[in-house]
C-alpha cells in the first residue's frame, strides 16, 4: 500500500479531547498525534518514531489501536488501510541485563515446571 503524500489535510483545528493522554507509557496526547499527522507523519512507523507513542513499557499493547484510530480519522481513511508499525523483538520490555545474559539450553534437557530452567548453563 503506497502512502499518498500529496493529500491536503487542511489546518489542524483544535478538537475536543486534544489534551487527553492516548499513549500512557510515553504520555502522548491526542492533540500531539493529530498535529504529527498534519506535520506529515502519515504512517504508524513515522508516528512512533516522531512521538515515541507505542514505544514504552507496554509496547503499544494498549494504545496502538487508539493511535491508529486517530491517525486514520485525520487522514480520512479506515484504520485497516493504515499499515501497522513493524513488530520487533523483544516482544515484551526486557531489562538490558537480561538481554545481555544469553544462555545455552543443553540439548535434551528436561524443562522443569516452575520457572523453567533445569540444567541450563549460564
Amino acid at each position: 500500500m503506497r502512502t499518498d503524500r500529496s493529500k491536503d489535510l487542511g489546518p489542524c483545528l483544535p478538537m475536543e479531547g486534544d489534551d487527553r493522554i492516548v499513549c500512557r507509557c510515553e504520555e502522548v496526547t491526542q492533540g500531539e498525534i493529530r498535529q504529527a499527522v498534519h506535520d506529515g507523519m502519515f504512517t504508524m512507523t513515522e508516528i512512533r518514531r516522531y512521538l515515541r507513542c507505542g514505544m514504552g513499557l507496554c509496547q503499544g499493547q494498549t494504545c496502538s489501536r487508539l493511535v491508529s484510530g486517530i491517525v486514520a480519522r485525520e487522514l480520512g481513511i479506515r484504520p485497516g488501510e493504515l499499515r501497522p508499525a513493524s513488530s520487533r523483538a523483544p516482544m515484551r520490555p526486557l531489562e538490558m541485563s537480561i538481554w545481555a545474559n544469553e544462555c545455552q539450553a543443553p540439548d535434551g534437557a528436561a524443562e522443569t515446571k516452575k520457572g523453567g530452567a533445569g540444567d541450563e548453563k549460564c
Binding site: 523483538a89 526486557l94 545474559n101 545455552q104 530452567a117
Partner: protein, 591 residues
Amino acid sequence: MKRVDLIVIGAGPSGLSAAIEAAKTGMSVLVFDENARPGGQLFKQIHKFFGSKEHKAKIRGFVIGQQLLKEAEDAGVQVSLESTVIGIYPEREVVVRKYVETPAADGTDPQEPSSRHEAVFHYKADAILVATGASENMVMFDGWTLPGVMGAGAAQTLMNLHGVRPGKRVLMLGSGNVGLVVSFQLLQAGCQVAALVDAAPKIGGYGVHAAKVARCGVPFYLSHTIKKVEGTNHVTGVTIAEVDSHFQFIPGTEKHFDVDTVCVAVGLSPMSQLLKMAGCEMDNSGKGGGQIPVVDAAGQTSVPGIFAAGDVAGIEEASSAMIEGRMAGIRIAEYLGYETKEAGEAEFSKEEASLEGLRQGMFAPQNRGMKIEKTEEGIPISTNLLKHGFVADDEIGRFPGVTHKAGIHPVMECTQNIPCNPCQDACAKHCIHIGLNITALPAVEEGSTCIGCGMCVASCSGQAIFLVNEHTKEGCAEVTLPYEFLPLPKAGDEGFGMSRSGKPVCRAKVVKVRTSKAFDHTALLTIEVPEDMAMKARFYRSRLECTGGDSVIAQSRIKGAEVSQNGATGDRPCESKAAAESEKREEGAAI
C-alpha cells in the same frame, strides 16, 4: 541450542490442545507461557460453558483447564512457565526469557537455599504454533487513565485468580459476553454493579447471560456511553449520556453514578506481533478483531512450519480455540511425518465438523451485524431482551420452552438460537427437546413427566431453566431457580420474589435449598410465591438484601421493596390477599 519437534507459544486452551494432539503421536513438544500458571484465559472462567458434550458444555472453564493440563501431562508435553517468548527468528528459532535456578553452593545456608535470575535462551523447532491469545481493547474518555478504570478481563483476573475485589461499586461498559459474564461475577464477588452500558442500540452478548444480570437488578443503558470519569487520584464517579445513531452525545441525557471502578469490555485484539515478526502474511482488514495471520483451516500460515490457533488467529471463544488447537496439532503431526495422512484426515474432519457446529446460530460469525427478527423456528425474537436484558412478561409465553401444565414442570427461558444443548442431555425423563440441530430452542417434550430432580436447572449454562409448580395449595405456587451466590439462603427464610427485571414483585418463602455434587456448585432454591407470580418470580432476595445493608438492591430498588413490605399482610407469602396486593405492587414497581 535445544531442539524439539514442536514449540507452542501460549498455554491457553488452543496451545494446550494442540500440544496434546501432537505429543500423542510421539512428538517432543515444549510449551512456553509467560504466566506462573498455565491455562490462559480458562482459569478465570468460573462459569459453565455452552456448546454440547463434545465441546465440554456445562463444565466450568477452569475445570476444563485442569482437564487439559492433566491430558498434557499424560501425553508427555513439557510446559515451561514464567517463560516469555520475545522473538521468532528465521529457521524457526525461538528466543525466550526465563528463569535460571542456581542451587545453593553446598546447602549450608538454609536461609539461601537457591537463587533465581533471568536470562535469555534460544530454542529451535521443526514447527512452531503461535497461540498467544488476545489483549483487551480500550476506549478513550475524560479520565480513562485514572486508577479504577480497568479492562473487564483485568477485573476478572483480580477476582478469580487473586481473590481481590476490584472495587465496591462498578459500572460496566460493554454488553458483549465478556461484559455480561464479568458483571455477573462481580455480583458474585459481592460488588455492586451500578449499570451496564453500551453505545450500541442492542445487547451484544447472549440473552441468557444478560437475563442473569438483569434479574439481579442491574439496569441496562443501551445507546449510552461514558462521557467522563470523575476523580483526582482515583475514580469517584462516572457520567454517561445517550448517543444518537452516529454515536454523538445527545445533550441533556447525562446520568451520573457514584462508583469507584469502571470496567471496560469493548472487545479484544489478537496478540499477533510474533507472527508478523516471523514474516507471516497478515490480514489487517479488521475482520478477526485486529491484525491476524492469513491461515488455512489448520492454522498454517504463509511461512512453512509456522502455525497459529485460537484468539490470535481471530477472536472467538475458548470452545472454538480448543478445536482449532487440536486441528493444528493433527496437521503439524502430519506435516512432520508423525501421523499418516489418512489417519490425520479422519480426525481432522471430525474436529472440523465440531467447529462448524459451534459456528451456528444467531451469534455465528456470518450473522454478525445482521438484523435478526425471528428465531430459526419463526418466532419473533424478544426485543425487550435486546434493550433491557430480560424477556418481557408479554413476550415470554411465545417460546417453546415456556408452557403451562399441572404439577411440576421445567420452564426454559432460552429464547435465542445459540449452540448449546446440555439441558437436553441432562433430563433422564426426556422432558426437554432440542434435537440434532444444537442451535434450536429448547422445547418441552409433549407427554413427558417431570420428576423435579433439578438436573436441567443445574446444567443450564445460561441459568435459564426454572422448575415451576403453578399450584401447590390454595393460592400458592413454587418456583425452583438456580442460585450461585453465598451465603446460601436456608429453608424457612423469608424475602422477596424478584421479577426478570430484578424488581421485588411479591413476598417469597424459601421452602427448599438443594446442593449436590451433580449440580456442580449451582444451588437449587425453591421458593413459595403467590399463584399469579409463578411465571413472574425468577429470583430471590432476602429481606435484609432488599431493605438493609448497602447491597445493590437496597441502593437501587429500595423504593419497590418498601412498597412490598408495607403492602404485604399476613404471614404466608402466598395467601390470596397477599397475591392481590402483589399485583398492585407490581404495577407500582413497574413505574
